[in-house]
């Protein structure tokens, strides 16, 4: 290494951020805001805000009127298509081709990836629920895995900070299990949902509220308000929901401190034994396969849960024979997702004269009701929330008494009966046995080892699924709806696209990878602030927590740099 050469200066930055999705975009914005010259690396192509090719498509604009091409799905997206929605004609360009980016499964794991600048911040579900004190204390209280090294009060100001910046909507409910947030406004429940909310509260004491999401209900920081098109997953031309493209990356760019390098796979981190620090990254250009080294004082790994951990595993040195930061042996372990795909549906009689205008890009949320206190104690740990909606059925509906002809045609063009459905999103406990590891025999086309998954829903997850279906049925029943039917179509872990764990935070370097500030215990200038850091999974959608942890970690890192600690 040529430490004093001009060449090295040209490839040296104050900070390097690996990944540009929800966490990476936030790291880039915060670091550049604080004056650090920051290199942002992403393995995929660049996407600028507004470059959303299908955003204005109507059904008739799409190939096959939106139907998936079977042969293409099986050839290129056999795993990505397991969700049923990620690889549609409208969205497949936001997901990788399995044919180009293979991975291995000892057990089924649905790993849905988007390799482009902005990552899955373009396609995320946009729901934002704060974690609560009960989520941060649960592991310690129940003796599960290891204790979180932080509590709600540590993250609370950072939730405030990121929520105010991105703009979120929702309604205050004063619930301990899902604390209120900095809401800029709120969408409304429709009349059938409002009816259900009141009945459920009265009969069961549970809270149905509007699904809290990162949508703008008024213009904010140069972004437009939501137009209720509900085409979010294709990319929003108005920038009305939070994405790296619409929010954090433009903010980082205007500081003049960001260098964005797409087509850059980080192969590994470079470790310097003399200083006990990582001094840079090894990069492969995906197009030319040339290799580069870049250097910085601090490195933020925000490549997504599995990718960040893979990079650490692949960063081997004399000091770290089993991967950087893996003194505990926990790197790659305690992989989690949320398990879901169970709930209930019902027909609604009445409200025949009521409809809605606009395609609201959220539904309702029912806050967790299990294991909150002594009275709600169950024979399983933790709990689940629900997401769902009520709507009037359309032309796809079946009508028993009418099958064809002029009246049938007219009827299909009018709103049908109201229906309501909901699905539970449940906590998955951290378990050392649930893991991912690298296969050094099967390399990808850049010579990087592929990922293998060995992860499944265990006893506690399976034990709560009956309640997940039954409580949904109970709510629909309490609302006075008919033909209540439960369902349970479990997929594989990963299907929730909420991968968490594998480089968990903790108090003890012997049992965890990261400290209370998201830095590696033994390598204090490497921070991991995506889902890999999570010590437990709670049942809330995790992205807002990644944002808050990232902003908090950057604040810590910059303090450390200013105090010459790293």
């Amino acid at each position: 290494m040529l430490f004093n050469s001009k060449g090295r200066e040209e490839v040296t930055y104050d900070a390097i951020v690996v990944g540009s999705g929800i966490s990476g975009g936030w790291a880039a914005k915060e670091l550049t805001d604080k004056g650090l010259k920051t290199l942002v690396l992403d393995r995929g192509r660049n996407i600028k805000h507004g470059e959303y090719p299908t955003a204005n498509w109507e059904t008739w604009d799409a190939p096959l009127n939106g139907r998936n091409d079977y042969k293409e799905q099986m050839e290129h997206y056999p795993k990505q298509s397991r969700t049923g929605y990620t690889t549609s004609q409208y969205t497949k360009h936001w997901f990788v081709k399995d044919s180009e980016h293979p991975y291995n499964e000892d057990k089924r794991f649905d790993w849905c990836r988007g390799y482009h600048v902005g990552g899955r911040s373009i396609t995320w579900g946009r729901h934002v629920y704060r974690w609560s004190e009960m989520d941060f204390v649960a592991n310690a209280k129940e003796g599960v895995a290891v204790d979180w090294p932080i509590r709600y009060k540590d993250i609370e100001p950072w939730y405030d900070y990121v929520e105010k910046y991105i703009g979120i909507q929702g309604t205050k409910e004063g619930l301990a299990q899902v604390p209120d947030a900095q809401f800029m406004g709120s969408f409304s429940l429709n009349c059938v949902e409002q009816h259900a909310r009141e009945r459920i509260k009265k009969s069961l004491g549970w809270t149905m509220t509007i699904g809290r999401t990162a949508h703008l209900t008024k213009p904010h920081k140069g972004r437009g308000k939501c137009q209720n098109r509900d085409r979010c997953i294709r990319g929003c031309p108005y920038g009305a929901y939070f994405s790296s493209q619409a929010s954090t990356l433009p903010a980082a760019e205007v500081t003049g401190n960001m260098t964005l390098r797409p087509f850059s796979i980080v192969h590994s981190l470079i470790y310097d034994q003399a200083t006990d620090k990582a001094i840079g990254v090894n990069v492969i250009d995906t197009e030319t396969k040339e290799t580069f080294e870049y250097y910085a004082k601090v490195i933020f790994l925000c490549a997504s849960t599995i990718a960040s951990t893979s990079i650490l595993m692949n960063s081997k040195s004399e000091r770290f024979e089993n991967g950087m930061g893996n003194d505990s042996g926990e790197l790659g372990h305690n992989l989690m997702d949320h398990h879901f795909m169970t709930g209930a549906t019902a027909d609604v009689d009445g409200y025949d004269d009521k409809y809605y205008k606009g395609r609201r890009p959220t539904g309702f949320y029912v806050a967790r009701s299990s294991n909150l206190d002594h009275n709600s104690k169950k024979d399983y740990l933790r709990g689940f929330g629900y997401q769902g909606s009520a709507s009037r059925s359309g032309w796809g509906r079946a009508v028993a008494e009418l099958k064809a002809g002029p009246q049938f045609k007219d009827l299909m063009g009018t709103p049908g009966k109201w229906r309501m459905g909901m699905t539970a999103f449940a906590e998955m406990l951290p378990d050392h046995r649930n893991q991912m590891y690298l296969d050094y025999e099967k390399l990808d086309k850049w010579g990087i080892p592929t990922v293998t998954f060995d992860c499944e829903n265990k006893e506690n997850e399976m034990a709560m699924r009956a309640d997940m279906a039954n409580n949904a049925a109970e709510m629909l029943d309490a609302s006075g709806f008919n033909n209540v039917q439960t369902y349970d179509n479990i997929g594989g872990p990963g299907l929730g696209i909420h991968e968490m764990g594998t480089a968990r935070m903790g108090r003890d370097p012997k049992t965890s990878v990261l400290n209370a500030n998201n830095a590696i215990h033994a390598v204090p200038n490497v921070y991991v602030t995506d889902g890999a850091c999570m010590t437990s999974s709670a049942c809330q959608n995790p992205s807002i927590t990644y944002m808050a942890l990232t902003a908090r970690a950057v604040n810590h890192a910059v303090d450390q740099i200013n105090n010459n600690n790293i």
Binding site: R67, P78, G224, K357, G405
Partner: protein, 218 residues
């Protein structure tokens, strides 16, 4: 004119919404190509006319266009060609290419030459046959699933490799589903028959329906 080009940048002007009327004006004259020379890719050439006739019987011309005018049979052929796995495709095509005989059976005559409501009666009978077939299959599958759970407990994960099932629902049910989808996802029906509001702006959670209210285009 390319509508996508025209609309590409609308959203970049933030904070207000274009009215549906403006969008409709931008879109006038932008139709999908509908050549006069067309041969089906999958369905037998001498069966495609009867598919068009079945579609028109289900969704006939009234004061709004019928399925034939919307070329729904072409959509059906295209969807069958591309959207199904090989086993399912073969199964549906075998059924469809025999639909003349099936319809003649239920109609007790030559379907194509039936008059009055007789064609409508025939497709209703076809659907009743299909419904009965599906009910049996659904019951059988439900029993198998219940038995499987009884023996092995609830599934911890779905199948890792996609495999097509060995048995499918009645071909007519898929055919009818395709006919309806092809019709209601077409541009003319989406913009002129259903309630078209591509950029709604605000959300009204509890709108009072007006007489003759159409369903929103999705």
């Amino acid at each position: 004119m390319n509508r996508r080009e025209a609309l590409k940048n609308t959203g970049l002007a933030v904070g207000y919404s274009l009215s549906a009327g403006t969008i409709a004006a931008v879109m006038n004259g932008c139709k999908a190509p509908t050549g006069t020379e067309w041969i089906p890719s999958s369905i037998d050439e001498d069966t495609i006319d009867i598919i068009a006739e079945v579609a028109e019987t289900i969704l006939p011309t009234t004061n709004t266009p019928g399925a034939k005018e919307m070329l729904v049979h072409r959509y059906v052929d295209e969807a069958i060609s591309h959207a199904y796995g090989p086993k399912h495709k073969a199964y549906i095509l075998a059924g469809i290419n025999n639909i003349t005989a099936d319809l003649n059976d239920v109609a007790e005559g030559d379907f194509m030459h039936l008059t009055g409501d007789a064609k409508l009666d025939a497709v209703i009978k076809m659907e009743e046959l299909a419904d009965a077939f599906n009910a049996k299959l659904d019951a059988k599958k439900a029993a198998e699933k219940a038995k499987n759970i009884e023996i092995n407990g609830p599934e911890r994960a779905g199948a890792m490799v996609h495999t097509e099932p060995d048995e499918f629902r009645h071909y007519y049910s898929d055919l009818k589903g395709l006919i309806i989808a092809g019709y209601f996802t077409s541009e003319k029906i989406g913009t002129e028959v259903l309630a078209y509001d591509p950029i709604p702006g605000d959300y009204d959670p509890c709108m009072v329906m007006s007489p003759g209210q159409k369903a929103w285009t999705h």
